[in-house]
């Protein structure tokens, strides 16, 4: 598959402050989560992607174009910015229609597309009211509507879930999933990692202006071999189970938490552990109540990498 | 000594709260402190003030020296005439102070504007009102505190130099004659400069409460002053009538000073009542706007 984004040696400084440093990354079509701590260079990368800025060094191609003020690229790109800014004197429908007209559509088409997009974000009842009366969640959804209304090939969304209440969060996540399923590529940055993970396994992790990891979370976790995998077990007879588990060659340690009766296992080979466990469990019949391995999540990977 | 460890992470507060805290003083002090942080503007704004003050002090000092005969022998013929002439030129203490306040009216306005323009505007922009009003302060406390912060710099620019001149006069006048004979004018000086500083402070805070940024507030203050004095001058010029000068803050101030220090110019067609009414009107309008705006700030918190 041809990558939609290709950055080679990408760097960007703000005076003496570094935003991005020698970033090499190729992003394939589909949904990609862009994660990293505050000030890591995520926003800089987003701004470079949508052509708000030019790189200081290196090269960047988005859908085969250099992004800065490139009209060809903007035909196929939708951008949902982070800032909570809209034209307050317009109605939601006027705003999205206006954006569509800038994408060189005639008035009728633009209005039809805008209406459809606003319906998809559940703003059909509010779209004829001025934006100034919208709540934060409605503003987020309006921003989102203008990003995908013209059916772009690639949508870039910077923190699109901030300020949304759980109901709206739920709807917006579903919408992203749908867009992804319909073949649109998405690049989404977010601080709420489990939401990113519920959307996509593929991430790009930026830290201190550098690329720290990319690819499916599970694969990234595999690469972190110096951290043994942790498994939490709860059982009726934890001591017997722990004894049995410690006999497995790949089990590193077993710790029993007296207060809760939780058993924490560290293993060097998680696959072997999972495939050995059923046999062991049915042999010892120690009454396992729950089995969870939390440190394969994006949260855990993020912690290991960023520290 | 008994061994003990103090590894608690959160320490509860064991003291008590003040019974009658003067909350506005705290706000005023902290606003004034913020003002002291920027050195360059302070230097630029206070240089003319300092120069004016030194000149006034020197004139007063020189005058009393001459009068006491330390510099020139008064008894010698001819010298008396010159001394009289020079002392006349130097003017008495009150007229020196009056000249100083007139000269520094604009600078003191600029100083209050510079330090006061951001006090409310920036609070709103940065959401500081949320932090203030989650504390037990009333709107009056808040306004008084902000006003005190801005007025402090006006005090530094106007009242303090006047008092300096007075103290120079006190110490150099023969046998403390200045303080004995003219103690009332010291009080008048304080009152007069406080009225000016207070008026300017209220005006600055009002404009600051109407806009969202310090720079906009500064533009607004300068615009309001320039426009009102420009319009009043043009009107007065076109109509040959002085009553339009009621629109001009500086001229109102000047007239008030003339009245307080018994220098009323009989040619003026404006009475002191009209001037007082103009100033009073300005105060009422400003305080009304401030009350409305600060109320909004509390609720939006």
């Amino acid at each position: 598959m041809k990558p939609i984004i290709k950055a080679t040696g990408l760097g960007r400084w703000y005076g003496e402050v570094i935003g991005l440093n020698d970033l090499n990354v190729e992003i394939l079509p589909g949904i990609t989560g862009l994660v990293g701590p505050n000030g890591a260079g995520k926003s800089t990368f987003m701004k470079l992607l949508v052509g708000e800025m030019r790189p200081s060094s290196g090269s960047l191609e988005v859908l085969g174009h250099t992004p800065f003020a490139n009209q060809e690229l903007y035909r196929q790109l939708g951008f949902c910015p982070q800032q909570d800014a809209l034209y307050d004197h317009m109605t939601g429908l006027q705003f999205v229609t206006h954006c569509m007209r800038l994408a060189n559509l005639n008035h009728t088409d633009a209005k039809a597309m805008a209406t459809r997009a606003l319906q998809r974000v559940h703003l059909e009842n509010a779209m004829n009211r001025p934006v100034s009366g919208y709540s934060k969640g409605m503003r987020q959804r309006t921003k989102l509507a203008q990003a995908f209304a013209h059916t772009p090939k690639l949508i870039i969304a910077d923190e699109p879930l901030t300020g949304l209440d759980p109901v709206a969060r739920h709807q917006v996540l579903d919408l992203y999933r749908e867009l992804g399923d319909s073949g649109t590529s998405l690049i989404i940055s977010s601080h709420v990692l489990h939401e990113v993970q519920s959307l996509t396994p593929r991430i790009v992790l930026i830290h201190r202006g550098r690329l720290l990891a990319q690819g499916p979370v599970e694969d990234v976790r595999q690469l972190l071999s110096r951290h043994p995998r942790k498994v939490h077990l709860r059982a009726r007879e934890p001591r017997a189970l722990a004894r049995a588990l410690l006999e497995l060659p790949h089990v590193h340690s077993a710790t029993l938490e007296e207060a809760t009766g939780d058993l924490h296992i560290e293993t060097r080979d998680i696959r072997a552990f999972h495939s050995d466990l059923p046999a062991l469990a049915s042999r010892t019949r120690s009454g396992i109540e729950s089995l969870e391995s939390s440190d394969a999540s994006l949260d855990a990977v993020f912690d290991y990498l960023v520290g | 000594m008994r061994a003990s460890t103090h590894t608690e992470i959160y320490r509860p507060f064991t003291g008590t709260l003040r019974e009658h805290p003067r909350r506005w003083v705290t706000i005023g002090v902290s606003s004034a402190k913020q003002g002291f942080k920027r050195k360059l503007p302070a230097l630029l704004l206070f240089t003319p003030v300092a120069i004016g003050c030194v000149i006034a002090c020197f004139r007063v000092y020189f005058r009393f020296q001459l009068l006491s005969g330390d510099l020139v022998n008064i008894n010698s013929p001819g010298a008396a005439g010159i001394t009289l002439m020079v002392t006349e030129t130097l003017g008495d203490v009150v007229s020196n102070i009056f000249t100083y306040t007139q000269g520094m009216a604009f600078f003191s306005l600029m100083i209050v504007a510079w330090y006061g323009a951001g006090l409310i505007a920036e609070d709103r922009r940065l959401g500081a009102n949320l932090l203030y009003f989650s504390r037990p302060i009333s709107r009056l406390d808040y306004l008084l505190g902000k006003g005190a912060g801005a007025a402090f710099f006006g005090f530094l620019a106007l009242t303090l130099p006047c008092l300096l001149v007075c103290s120079v006069a006190t110490f150099t006048s023969p046998e403390w004659s200045f303080i004995v004979e003219e103690w009332a004018s010291i009080l008048k000086v304080i009152l007069f400069s406080s009225i000016w500083v207070g008026t300017v402070t209220v005006l600055v805070l009002t404009i600051s409460s109407l806009v969202g940024r310090k720079s906009h507030a500064l533009i607004g203050i300068i615009g309001a002053i320039v426009l009102s004095s420009g319009v009043s001058t043009v009107l007065a010029h076109l109509f040959n009538e002085n009553s339009f000068s009621l629109l001009n803050l500086f001229q109102n101030f000047e007239r008030l000073g003339e009245w307080m220090f018994d220098r009323w110019n009989p040619d003026r067609k404006v009475t002191i009542t009209q001037t007082a009414a103009a100033l009073g009107g300005l105060w009422t309008l400003c305080l009304f706007i401030l009350a409305v705006r600060v109320r909004k700030m509390e609720v939006v918190a």
């Binding site: 703000y14 926003s43 949508v50 052509g51 708000e52 800025m53 030019r54 800065f68 003020a69 009209q71 060809e72 903007y74 035909r75 790109l77 951008f79 910015p81 982070q82 800032q83 800014a85 809209l86 034209y87 004197h89 317009m90 206006h98 954006c99 007209r101 800038l102 994408a103 060189n104 203008q146 | 720079s215 533009i219 426009l227 420009g230 319009v231 043009v234 009107l235 076109l238 109509f239 040959n240």
Partner: protein, 278 residues
């Protein structure tokens, strides 16, 4: 074609946001101030004294620049400060179209306001019952008709000169503040500093440096056609030592400066990177 369409959309957007804004309210107040003064002065002095005086010192030197700066500085800066510029810059549109479209609207608005202001001054100063509080309603209604008569009575060219100068002033100052907005964040303050500190200084000291200020050329429009204002100008001691241009000369020079600055601004907006600090 798309360029023109974008420019049109942008100008409409700007027009709408201007019409509803607080800026415009301030501008309307500014524009009406000289009219009110001229009205009140009308009863006391002769129109040939009032019109050049107010026109020169209030309309051209203060009101026209202030209105144009207020309206013009919104062209780029407002979108940048609101951070809505992203929605336009990430669309397949030419950035220059954005600038030109918005500038066009702003220019129209400021020109209308300044023209109203100067025409209003002429009308109010020449209105027969101006300055009297007890005028009758029907007289006001007939005012427009009478005005034409009275303007004819004004010394030749005074009305046209003042109006022409105010139109030119509005167009020039709007571009100046809009263009400064392309290159600097604080366009409003910068253009205030430019017009009142730098230009006020340049225009009022003797010598050929006056030719660097817009005010100098605006004066040409007045003196070229009217002796009265020429005599007012000659009373200002600072203006000695320079001769004013004729109106066509002044216009050509201003037009040249305008096109150069417009070109620079249009090119600037295409290449500059706008940081929206969050």
């Amino acid at each position: 074609m798309h360029f023109l369409k974008t420019a049109w959309l942008m100008s409409r957007l700007q027009m709408r946001s201007l019409v509803l804004s607080r800026r415009l309210l301030i501008c309307v107040l500014l524009a009406s101030a000289p009219i009110a003064i001229a009205w009140f002065a009308g009863g006391h002095q002769h129109a040939t004294d009032i019109v050049p005086f107010i026109g020169m010192f209030l309309v051209l030197q203060v009101v026209a620049p202030l209105i144009s700066l207020t309206v013009g500085s919104s062209v780029v800066t407002e979108e940048l400060e609101n951070r809505t510029i992203t929605y336009i810059f990430t669309r397949p549109t030419d950035r220059a179209a954005f600038f030109l479209g918005r500038l066009a609207s702003s220019t129209v608005v400021s020109t209308i306001l300044v023209t109203i202001s100067s025409a209003g001054v002429i009308w109010a100063a020449t209105y027969p019952q101006a300055g009297q509080a007890n005028f009758k309603r029907e007289r006001i209604r007939r005012g427009a008709h009478e005005m034409v008569e009275i303007v004819r009575d004004l010394p030749e060219g005074l009305a046209t000169g003042l109006i022409a100068a105010s139109v030119v002033a509005a167009i020039m100052y709007t571009l100046i503040s809009a263009g400064l907005g392309v290159f600097f964040r604080r366009a409003m303050i910068l253009s205030l500093v430019y017009t009142f500190a730098i230009e006020g200084f340049l225009a009022n000291i003797p010598g050929s440096t006056q030719k660097l200020s817009v005010q100098f050329y605006l004066r040409s429009f007045l003196t070229d056609v009217h002796e009265m204002s020429a005599s007012i100008l000659s009373e200002i001691p600072m203006l000695t030592g320079t001769t004013l241009y004729t109106a066509p000369e002044a216009l050509t020079r201003l037009a040249a400066a305008y096109s150069v600055f417009l070109l620079i601004s249009a090119l600037g907006i295409r290449t500059r990177q706008y940081m929206m600090t969050s």
